[in-house]
Each structure stands twice: as C-alpha cells, then as structure tokens.
C-alpha cells in the first residue's frame, strides 16, 4: 500500500515539475525595451493566420406544414 502511495506521489510530483518548468521558462523571457524587438517578439502572428469565423448553421426554411 505504502509503495503504491509513494509511486503515485512521485508521479504527481514529476508531472507538476514538468508543468512548473514550462512556466518558469516562459516567466524568464526577458523584457524588450527595444520597440523593434518588442514587435518582432509578437506571439500573435501565427494565431492571426487562423480566421476566427466558425460560420453559421444554415437558416434555409424547410416545408413542415401538413397537407390541406
């Protein structure tokens, strides 16, 4: 039982470490004071390539009335 709990604890810790490492590397990004570097450092350019329009469900009318 102890071995299982120990293993699970290690798994959780290592997993958290992976997430924390990514967070730290992002946080360590230096501040750009040079305007050209600031813009060149843009994170959104690739994102802008994806058009945000999902489109709409078609609104064509069906014939659902009963016969006369």
């Amino acid at each position: 039982m102890k071995a299982i709990i120990g293993t699970l604890l290690i798994i959780t810790l290592v997993f958290a470490l992976g997430i924390a490492m990514t967070g730290c590397s992002k946080a360590a990004t230096p501040i750009n004071t040079n305007p050209a570097e600031t813009v060149a450092d843009d994170t959104g350019t690739e994102f802008v390539e994806a058009n945000p329009d999902l489109g709409m469900l078609d609104d064509s009318q069906v014939s659902d009335e009963l016969p006369q």
Binding site: T29, T38, A50, N51, L54, S60, Q61, L66
Partner: protein
C-alpha cells in the same frame, strides 16, 4: 539495474507529457473551425433527409404523375444528394470558403426550389384524389418525420454551441498569452483586457444556455454571438496593432520606413471601419477585415525586422580610430 532504467525513462516521459500539457497549441483554432464545418454539414443533412423523406412520402401517396407532377419533385432528391456530396468534400478538406460559397450559390437555391415544390404539392393535396384514409396515414407519417427532424436539428444546435464554447475557450487562452507577453514588453494592454472581459462574459452566457439546454435562447443568440465574437476578435487585433504602432512607429520613421507604416495604418483603418460593435457583417465583410488584419500584422513584423537590421548596421563595432585616446574620458 534494468528496473531502475525503466523507472527513470517512465519519470522522464511523465515530465515531458507535463510540459506538453502546459504548452498551448496554435492548431486549436483551426480544429474548432473544422469541427464547426462538420456540424454545419450534419445540420444541413438533417434538412436534406427531412426533405427527401417527404418527397418519398409524396411518391408513395400521390402516385399519379400526370396530375401531381411528382416526377419533377422527385428529381430534387438527386440534386440535393449531389449537393451534400460536394459539401462533404469541402468539409473533409477543411475548405470553409468553398463550403460557404457553395451553400450560397448552389445549395440554397436548390433547396428552396425543392421546398417550394413540396409546399405546392401539399397545398394541392386534395386535387390529387387521395382517399381520406391515405391522407390521414400521410399526415401521421409526416408528423413522425417532423419529430425526428426536430430532434436532429436540436442535436446539431447543441453540438454547434459546444464547438463555439471550445472556440471561445481557445481564444481566451491565446488572448491571455498575447496580453501577458505585451505586458512584459511594456505595451499598453488596457483595451485588450476590456475585450477579454467581454468575451469571457459572452462565453459565460453561452455556457449557461448549454447547461440548461435552453434551446430557444441558444437558437436566438448563436448568430448574435458569432457577430459579437467577430467584432471582439477584430477589435483585439486592431488594438494590438495600434499598440505596436505606438511603440514602433517613431523608430520606423526615423529609419525612413514612413511609407511602410502608412500602409500598415491604412490596413488598420480598413479593418477598424467594420470592427465596431453593432455593425452586422454582410457576406464577405469579415474576410476583408481579417485580410487587412493579417496584412497589417505581416507588414508590422517585417518593419520590426528591417528596423532591427538598420539598428545592427548602425551599431558598428568600435575601430582603432574610435577608441578613446590615453588620458581622454577621465
């Protein structure tokens, strides 16, 4: 020893998976657009199935082709099936532009024609000499078809709402990343934060409707949400570009790139014109807005690279003649 190796490999894999989980994927947005395209196709399929099955009923209950012109109505089935095949191809290849164009130019007129002919046939039902018994049986079958159709449509509306929910979640995540980075780089993000708050509020509303399965509200607001989201997305990009312009503009003009900056500002103005809340996008409007945003982004990035090149060129390493002479600078 071997066991220890396996354990270390396992631990290493876990750490990597944690890192992957923490990383954002830029393909999220493309995925939701593809998912939406498939739901839209399924939604149209509900309408085509309902229409074709009604034609089937008419074929069964009104057999006299000379009187009722049923054969002409029947021809619509093949036309609509062909339309579905074409639309399915566009959805499979994730070609949203072709999908939208085909709906407007081919599917809608074809579907409208089929619907009109079915309506006329039902209006003239008594002229076809159908017995009362057959008429009642027809009505009962039609009622069953209508119930199935209604269920099918509701299911697709919920599905579309769920895709929209995921889509908004992705946008919030991307916007947070962009705002954080801009913040770190000392750029003004106040307006961007406001837009993010608005999209979060819109997202909360959508989630409540999905949770409560409030179909009439979901139906009512889905189109409006799309319009609002497009406005927020455009406004966010316009504000971001303006913020970059405020930071880079002066430096670019100093390096003789005024023409380039003017071109960027023209693109921003064109996008800004349609991005105001309340404006209802007409066919093709939003594509124009987004093309201008894409162009301005591309140009802005190129200007920044050119400015960096100029800065490096001007910052020449000090030669012997530039070195301070002995005794100078004290």
């Amino acid at each position: 020893m071997k066991r220890l190796g396996i354990f270390i490999a396992f631990v290493f894999m876990l750490a990597i998976s944690g890192m992957v989980l923490a990383e954002s994927s830029d393909t999220d947005t493309q995925n939701t657009v593809k998912e939406a395209l498939n739901v839209r196709l399924e939604h149209i399929q509900c309408k085509v199935d309902f229409t074709n099955k009604q034609i089937g009923l008419l074929e069964r209950y009104v057999p006299d082709t000379n009187i009722s012109n049923i054969s002409r109505i029947s021809a619509n089935k093949e036309v609509l099936n062909n339309d579905m095949e074409t639309l399915g191809g566009y959805a499979k290849s994730n070609n949203k532009t072709a999908f939208d164009t085909y709906i407007t130019q081919a599917f809608r007129p074809n579907f409208q024609e089929a619907t009109q002919e079915i309506m006329n046939a039902k209006k003239n039902f008594r002229k076809y000499n159908v017995s009362n018994e057959s008429r009642t049986a027809f009505i009962n079958e039609l009622k069953n078809l209508t119930a199935t159709y209604s269920e099918c449509i509701s299911d697709k509306e919920i599905k579309m709402g769920t895709v929209m929910d995921k889509h908004l979640q992705n946008w919030e995540k991307h916007w947070t990343e962009i705002i954080d980075k801009m913040d770190k780089n000392g750029l003004n993000t106040t307006k961007l934060e406001t837009l993010k708050a608005e999209i979060i509020a819109q997202h909360d509303d959508l989630q409540s409707m999905l949770e409560s399965r409030n179909m009439s509200n979901l139906r009512k607001y889905m189109g409006e949400y799309r319009q609002q989201h497009l406005h927020y997305a455009a406004q966010f990009e316009v504000e971001k570009l303006k913020s970059y312009d405020a930071k880079l503009g002066e430096e670019a003009r100093k390096n003789n790139m005024s023409d380039w900056m003017d071109k960027i500002n023209q693109s921003i103005d064109k996008a800004d014109k349609y991005s105001q809340t309340g404006y209802k996008y007409k066919e093709g409007d939003f594509n124009e807005v987004w093309e201008n945003i894409k162009q301005a982004n591309k140009d802005m990035k190129n200007v920044s690279k050119e400015v960096l090149k100029e800065q490096r060129k001007n910052a020449k390493p000090m030669g012997r003649q530039d070195m301070p002479k002995k005794g100078e600078g004290k």
